[in-house]
């Protein structure tokens, strides 16, 4: 068993490779009491994980890998140390999804929940989310839609802001088409074989 340390402050953590029995230890804090999203990108082939006993799950438990992103939504937690265990790895494909954010400048249009379109531009992007500057502040803790202008067709996703300061927003993808995630990976120059 290996243990990887990471800091969970609503940002992505990198798990370059995992094996059965691995544990990821981190420190987390909730951004919104009922809308916390912790994204951890994982290699394809890992389809589940177990959160530690010291995490109290709130109204919803999405503690599973979804499109290569671990989502813990609705955790009722305060700052502290938490453990994410990975009890099983379903396969061992030669796949490694790069988790780090890459400097990339895409025009972004965000559809605020009230129907207002807000323009922005990314400055760091990964297949799990992006950091961008928007012309206006966007709602925190409320999922909203974005469209990233990549190539001929936009990549559409539903995102949640995990941190925001002034007009800089750090968002993680909640819903995105598999094809679009692969297209995004290609646009970022990431290797995405199989998966």
């Amino acid at each position: 068993m290996t243990t990887q340390a990471a800091t969970w402050t609503g940002i992505q953590i990198s798990i370059a490779s995992v094996r059965s029995g691995d544990e990821v230890l981190g420190t987390g804090r909730s951004v919104e009491p009922t809308a916390l999203v912790i994204a951890a990108e994982a290699p394809a082939g890992v389809d589940s994980f177990r959160i530690g006993d010291n995490l109290r799950v709130g109204w919803a438990d999405h503690s599973r890998w979804q499109h290569g992103v671990a989502m813990l939504i609705g955790l009722d937690l305060v700052a502290g140390n938490y453990t994410m265990s990975i009890p099983s790895v379903t396969a061992a494909p030669e796949v490694r999804r790069e988790a780090s954010r890459i400097e990339a400048f895409f025009a972004i249009r965000a559809l605020s929940p009230d129907g207002t379109v807000v323009n922005g531009r990314s400055f760091e992007v990964s297949i799990g989310g992006f950091s961008a500057r928007f012309s206006e502040r966007l709602p925190e803790g409320t999922p909203f839609a974005v469209s990233l202008e990549i190539g001929d067709a936009p990549v559409a996703a539903v995102v949640s802001i995990i941190r925001q300061s002034d007009r800089y927003a750090h968002a993680t993808f909640l819903q995105i088409r598999d094809d679009d995630r692969e297209r995004l990976a290609l646009a970022l120059g990431l290797r995405a074989i199989g998966g």
Partner: protein, 102 residues
């Protein structure tokens, strides 16, 4: 509760951004939904990202969908498949699915 009574909006991710349209939710299950929209759909919207927004109890919930019309589709209907079915099982969509299933 009739689905048609649920305030529903459809947004299409066109290259210029999102365009919102009022719609009626006519069908819903674990995998997706059908929605009636009051405009002529452009041909290029097939197999494109569509955002479905429903309001229930004053709260708005989003689901990102793919438009996947069957071979014989009815005009004015969007056939939407959730891209993350698990993500819509909580909140308004989960409640709507339960109500519609009952």
């Amino acid at each position: 509760m009739e689905l048609e009574q649920i305030p529903t909006r459809i947004a299409l991710a066109q290259p210029s951004g999102w365009e919102m349209h009022d719609a009626k939710l006519t069908g819903l299950d674990d995998q997706g939904a059908t929605a009636e929209v009051h405009f002529d759909l452009p041909g290029q919207c097939a197999d494109r990202a569509v955002l479905l927004q429903v309001e229930l109890h004053g709260e708005s919930t989003l689901a990102l969908c793919e438009h996947r019309p069957p071979e014989r589709s009815e005009p004015g209907l969007l056939y939407l498949q959730f891209v993350s079915p698990d993500a819509v099982h909580t909140g308004s969509f989960g409640e709507l699915i339960d109500v519609h299933r009952a």
